[in-house]
Each structure stands twice: as structure tokens, then as C-alpha cells.
Subunit: 415 residues, 2 copies
Amino acid sequence: MDLDLARQIAQEADTKIVLFVMDGLGGLPHPQTGLTELETARTPNLDALARESACGFTLPVGIGVTPGSGPGHLSLFGYDPLKFNIGRGALEAVGIDFDLRPQDIAARGNFCTVDGGGAISDRRAGRISNERCAELCAKLRGIRLDGAELFVEPVREHRFVLVLRPDGRASARGDGLSDAVGDTDPQREGAQPLEPRATSPEGEATARLVARFVEEAKRLLASPSTGSGRAEPANMLLLRGFARRPDWPSMSDVFKLRPAAVAHYPMYRGLAKLVGMEALPVGPAIGDSIATVRENWGRFDYFFVHYKYTDTAGEDGDFDRKVAKLEEVDAAVPSLLELGPDVLMVAGDHSTPAIMAAHSWHPVPFMMRAPWTRSDACNAFNEVALQKGSLGTFPAMEALALALAHAGRLTKYGA
Amino acid sequence: MDLDLARQIAQEADTKIVLFVMDGLGGLPHPQTGLTELETARTPNLDALARESACGFTLPVGIGVTPGSGPGHLSLFGYDPLKFNIGRGALEAVGIDFDLRPQDIAARGNFCTVDGGGAISDRRAGRISNERCAELCAKLRGIRLDGAELFVEPVREHRFVLVLRPDGRASARGDGLSDAVGDTDPQREGAQPLEPRATSPEGEATARLVARFVEEAKRLLASPSTGSGRAEPANMLLLRGFARRPDWPSMSDVFKLRPAAVAHYPMYRGLAKLVGMEALPVGPAIGDSIATVRENWGRFDYFFVHYKYTDTAGEDGDFDRKVAKLEEVDAAVPSLLELGPDVLMVAGDHSTPAIMAAHSWHPVPFMMRAPWTRSDACNAFNEVALQKGSLGTFPAMEALALALAHAGRLTKYGA
């Protein structure tokens, strides 16, 4: 739904909506069995739910378009993924609970390994430990730049976030920073890291600051910080996705919801916060998620619950593990239903067929149990049975409107 | 897919896409049998292909909208037919391999018969022969206009193309031509030909040139050129669709394809060239088309193959002949498959139900055999069986995006 229309017709109500997202949900048939992951998995609870639900498929961005995690989730949150773009750096920063401010510029960083000639031999520096990443970030925080305050925050393994914030003097002079800076990550091994270059004239001052940071970082990373004498694998860094925090309308403003995110992974927490959700602290297991929803049931009326492991298995090309993870979700369905949501959506942000070992463009299985649904002939939750669903294949960004309607949260349009 | 998005995410790949278009493909049930042309035809090869394909229907322009040949094809080529408009004259000129330049104005012409009072008695002058048409065009080329070079090119039977090009002196004065000139063809018999009138002030000079041309042509056509003494049926002409050549982004720019058109009829060649396809020389038979694809297989990675005769039969209201033409295509399917396309789309530009004897607005049968398709319950290629397809009814302009995705030619959108 167009956000202006939503603003006009959304209303508060005493109803609760749960959006349960299995990341990378949809799949493709295994060549030996002809059955998809969902068809293979034993999912009696999901199948029973499908019999009580309106069923179909969501199209995250458009026909043929494979979404990244950002567009895949934003559309389920009701935001047009072609209008609401976010740079990778801003997403990553918000996702680690960094308080990214409107004047800040964030970039995603990788520690990497370069050889004696300066060429990248490992873009991930052998996936160093979280602890080592934190140590290196602490070291880089010592760098001083004229014009910007510097934040270097660890994410996981070799990944970190760099944030530049105009310092007091720069702000006093009215010197802002710009996100018009190109990646230094050439995205392939064997190449040299790129120089940070302005992608438009207003990026030039910021590009110089970044160049100065990279130069200092290179020097600091090259000098061994341990007495072990072993070569440090993380002897260089790569930056990409320079971006500002987007300033988007919140779900509470637009949809009149009090929304909460129950997501363990930083990126999904970050996405949820960008649309005004409160990201609740939660452990990694599905039981943790459901307990968190239960504990916060009274405070919110919309819960986004994220389950990551279906995607991870799919991306690893592990058909059997994806099947097992679907069965894990199935086992948790009764406790999800016990919460008593008025509207329960079971959805995915995109398909990740295990046989492709990657995100894909295929429409994503979807069902919604709610009052006022029509019956359909879909009697199981899988890619074949859902073709008999009453919802057909529809844009994922319309799923929230559908849920709001069934939750009594949309008034009539027009007299 | 939006062309800006396509530009952003399309990539080259070592895969080949074939779009096989049966013109006027879709039909309606015969009142005596209750079966459509496709249901009536014996099409074992198309049916087998449907069982291996993702199936559905394309909507060329929109619900209820009957497309002409231009919009019907442009949408299959990935171009929004409501944004990419082309005047009939420009289409006709490009379709006869005329080198239409950006400053030219083209119109479609008919030789016609007028009675002694000047009223049109036959809009097609008895469908004169191609030879006679060429003779008359040669005669009209002798007309001289002040300000424009003149081209009069035969098309088929009574049809020709008129092109005005600013002459050297007009160009030196900076006097361009305009396509803001109304039709002289009233599109009905019994009426007088219309005066060429400017449809906006900038068309006035061009309308005067056209009026001068029509006056001279009328005089030349009225004087018999043969000694037979028989009345010349083509004693007047009608002009319509004054238009400039549109300047559109090419499929290679937008979609990163090397596209070829295998079409015998001028109009479809013309359409294909407007989106940057190379129109290969090809004979009229379906065997000619497949041989041409085979011979050029290495040079291109996208082939648009056009089959005209299903539409001709439909427009003639000849149900049985349309059935026979569908069976002719069916017999050619194995040789199409032997080429080994990674993605094969079988589609139509619009429906032409024989019982309507005209183009119609009905969604058009579509199937795509490709890697990574989901299975569906569609087991035959006809308007009833396709309703069980996994693709549903979708905009024809998305068909190319779907094909590109399955051909590994679209990267992920968003982080």
C-alpha cells in the first residue's frame, strides 16, 4: 500500500499481528526426488496452519528480481523496496546497535590480508575471531583525523563498521561529510585495494579523510601487536557501502502500530529499527524468540520475528539441513499459536533454494491465519500446494496492508 | 522491470534465450465444440513442453486492453508499452528496412479509389499488386517540394511509406519538420479524404508540405500511365500516422543482450530494430526461421522468432486454419529444442480469437522452459490447462526479466 494511503486509513485497534519470517524460505525441487525443501520436510503444524490460512506467494521486489536482505525485509514491513534504498554501511551500523546520527557517514569494513606487493590474498583475513576483530578495531580507534570523529566497531569475524562524524570544529565551520565516496573493496582477490575516490564533487573532502584513515590503518595493521612473531593475517582493510542513515517514516506514524523486532542477527535488527521498530534483546534459538514475544506481548501490537537458519542452510547448499531447520520451525508453531495473535503471517524475505546455494527471485511461500479469510484448496505449506491458495502471487509490500485489514486496523477508503 | 533497475542489475552471461512468438496466439472456445483453437489442435510437442515449463498467461498492456502489434511486441521485449509509443508511419518505415533518420517524418500510405465526386469508394484500391504499387511509388517520387526531400517506398499491395526529410536548404535555415500533422485517411469509405492539418502550431509548415504532396500526387494518379484505357483503381492516396523515429534505449544497453530478430514481416523487423535488435534476413516458412537461428546461434544470445500465420488465420475468422497453423508450429518444436536454448519462451503478442476475427484483450498463453523453474500442475498448452500454471497471469513486459533471471543474467538487488 502506498504510504500516503496508509496514513489516511490506518487506525489503532486492540489486535495483535505477528509476522514470522523464515529467512530464505522458498526453495526448488531436489533433482533426485523432485521435491522442494518444504515438500520434503515433515511439517504437520505448518500444514495444519495452511489449511486454516489464506495462502499464496509474495513477490519481494518484482518478477525475476533477486532481493538482498534489505529489500526482502522492507517489503514485508510495508515499504516499497524500490523507493526505500539503504546503503550497506548504514545498515550494518544500525544493525550493531550503533547510534548512527543523521550527519554520520558509515561504511562496512573487512579486515583482509595483502601480500608483499599489496595485492589482496584473502578478502576476509582468514575469518579472524570476534575477539581479534575487537582488538584491531580498538587499535584503529586511536587514529586522529582533522574534521571527523571516528568510530570503528566490530561486527563479526573479519567484519567491522567505520563511522565518520563531523567533529566540533568541522560542525562549527559548517563542513558536513558526504557519502559520495566509492568503495575501496575491489570485491576480488589478486587485485590491489582501491583508493577511496569521490563519486561526485561534494565527496572530495570526505574521500581525503577516508584516504588518510586507510593510510594510518595500513601502518598500524602492518606492525605486529603480539610478540608471537607470527604474521598477522589482518594486515589491511577494505571499505564499502559509504552511506548515511536514511530518514524514513516510522511504522507507528504510517501504520499506527507499536512494532517490535525479535531478531538475533544485527542486520535484521538494524532494518527493523530503520522503520521505527523497537529491537528487543533476544537469544539465537527459536525458543528464545517466542519467549521474548511472550514477555513483551502487552507492550506491542506488531511483532516481527526473524528466523535466520533456513537461509544459512540454503546459502550453504545444504538441502537436508534446510529441511531440518524447517522442521525445527514446525515444532515451534504450537507455542507461536498459544500467544493468540489475531493475525499470524508466516513468510520469507526471499527464496534461497538449497540447489542454488544463493538467494533467488522465486516467489516466496506465504500464509496468513486471521479472522475473515476466505477458504482455499491449499492444504499444505509448500511451493506446489500454495499454488492453490486464494492469495495468488502478490507484492510482498502489500502483505502488511492485508494483515492490517484482517486485524481491523484499516478504515474505509472514500465515502 | 523498470529499465533503470534493469540497467543496474543486468549482467552478461554465457546463456542463450529464445522468445518464440506466435502472433495472435490466444483464442476462445468454438461455439459448437466448446474448445479453443489450442484445445482443438493436436499439439503433442507443445503439450510435452508445457509439462516441463513454468506456465501461465501474459497480459500485454493491461486488463481489458486490446493491443496492436507494436505494444504487443514491445512488452514481450521488456519495454512498457504505455511508455514506449511509436507512430505507425515510423514503424512502417523502419519495417521495410528504410534508413529512417532522427529528423525524418514518416507516414503510412494507402493507394485508394475515389469516385467522380472525390469520395472514397475503396480504401485499398482493390488491393493492387506489389508491382503496380512499386510503379506508382516511382511516379510519385518525381514530385518536388521546397524544403523537404521526398521518399515514397512501396510496402505490400496498396500500402506504401511516405518519408519527408529536411532538404539541404531547409536544414541550413534551421527549418525542421514536425510530426504534428493529422491523418488524411478518414478510415471509412464514402467519405472524402481529409485535408492534412497541423495538430499543433509547430506542425503547420509540414502540413503545408504534405498538402502540396497530396495535391501533386492526386494529379499524377489521375492521369493514366498505361495505354490500356482501363480506369486506374489507384487514383488517390491516404496518409496516416505521421511520426518521427523514436530514440529508445537498446536491449544491449539495458539488458546486456546481443539480440537478433528472426521475422519475415516488415513490421516485426521494424519493431525489433527500434529496440536495437539485428533483423536477420529470413524466408517466410517456420523452417526458414529455425534454420536462420541455427546459422546465427554463435553471434547472438537472444533470439526473437516471429510466426505470423496464427494471427492471419485468426483475423480471417478461420478457426480451422488457425488450428492447422498451431499444429504446424507444434511440428517444428523439436527442431527449436535441438538448438539447446537455456531459456525458451513460447508466447504471443496478443490473442486473436478466430470467433472474433480480430485482436482481443484476453491474456495470452505463455510458457518458459528454463533451469530453476518450479513444477506446476499444467500438463498441456491451452487456455484451460495453463490456468494451473505457476506463473499465473502477469504483465508481458516482465517476461524478459523472468527469462534473464533464469538465464543467470540478473544480479541481486540491494544488500
